[in-house]
Symmetry: none
Subunit: 225 residues, 2 copies
DNA sequence: CCCAACACGTGATAC
DNA sequence: TGTATCACGTGTTGG
């Protein structure tokens, strides 16, 4: 009963992976002979029901080919699921869009700041530690709350809240590490688009001095080095 | 006969266009109650055949939602066809990739013109996704404990402990950010020379797949780009 | 009237 | 074993 459809049974798992992966730019949908309307038997396309069958077959085949083509342009495919392919494609598109936004900002930044390059150069000499040389000023850290308070003895607790954007956490960590503080314990929590950081550190420093230091480090992390 | 399936007859044409288009960043697939295994009649999921029916229904629904989500992130949709949606998505991805290549060339051009604030520009040359060009011995991340477990529905919790050295936190954050995960909440705690990170993220990904991904990202973060 | 696009139930296959 | 994914044929609807 299923003799001529049987080559299609494993279509997804086998045949699709053997197809051309390189000449996909041209043709791409022009080939794909699809099924002819003429049935293998003497009857031509007169069958009222069999007409729908072959149409549906072609539709399914087209859809699978499209899906396969989608999989081809998306890197980092994990599972070969139809649903997973679409999911990965969505995430990939989103990441591409994000990156484009980021890079557009970067490029405009670069264009507007090229003349200050020399001036910035001498500021880098004071940076104890070589920071990133890439010129990105991605969405400066927007501090919502910032508190430096004394917890008995010589323990200071610094609590800080800011909006979580791309690389916010990284730059915040860099800012704190650049200060070489004696950190006893540190806690970072992220939810609802906000980043909360609490640091217990040991030090007899004046609160205001420490506060200014941290503020400067955070501000510097949003600056071009 | 088709009373409860009838709301699904026009599913593609009607319901899908009314769904949320804006709060798609979080959740996005966490809702979607799908069908319960319990049939509307007194019989529970015991029917051997009806079990497959509801599974297949859920699979179709998931696929349609994915397809709808794909349509949502792609501008300039021409036809609402399933096949057309995928086709438009493919073309959009290709255009994004082209644009990224173009813009990367432009940016590296711009960087080499400024000639420039630091001397490690040769390391910034070829990398499709420009990582940091900092040259520093990484002091590799020593993972003490690493667990990926499922928390009901499609929420995955990743908990990790490692020794806290210099830049460990930064590189760990970079590793996680590079994966573009859908992070619901994240918590980092540091004490006694150890760093504990717990991440709640949304995803129906296979635990082992995710685990391998994270391990690879962490391993990669100990490398010089 | 037909054609295109869809949802549905079903049996098969893989893990 | 069961669970998930798939291709298939069928009935239906809108243009």
């Amino acid at each position: 009963m299923e003799n001529m459809d049987d080559d299609y049974t494993k279509y997804w798992e086998t045949n699709m992976f053997l197809q051309s992966e390189e000449l996909d730019s041209y043709f791409d949908e022009a080939l794909s002979v699809y099924y002819d309307s003429s049935s293998p038997d003497g009857m031509q396309s007169s069958s009222p029901a069999s007409k729908n069958i072959v149409s549906e077959r072609n539709r399914r085949k087209k859809l699978n080919e499209r899906l396969y083509a989608l999989r081809a342009v998306v890197p980092n495919i994990t599972k070969m699921d139809k649903a997973s392919i679409i999911r990965d494609a969505i995430e990939y598109i989103k990441s591409l869009q994000d990156e484009e936004r980021r890079i557009q900002a970067e490029i405009s930044n670069l264009e507007s700041n090229t003349e200050f390059c020399e001036m910035d150069q001498e500021t880098t000499t004071f940076s104890s530690k070589p920071k990133r040389s890439r010129m990105e000023k991605p969405s400066p850290i927007e501090v919502v709350e910032f508190r430096v308070s004394n917890m008995g003895e010589n323990v200071v607790v610094v609590s800080l809240a800011c909006s979580k954007r791309r690389d916010t956490m990284i730059r915040l960590c860099e800012a704190f590490e650049s200060l070489n503080l004696k950190i006893i314990t540190c806690s970072i929590n992220v939810f609802a688009g906000r980043l909360f950081k609490t640091v217990f550190l040991e030090g007899d420093e004046e609160n205001d001095v420490l506060r200014v230091k941290i503020e400067a480090a955070i501000a510097a992390s949003s600056t071009i080095f």
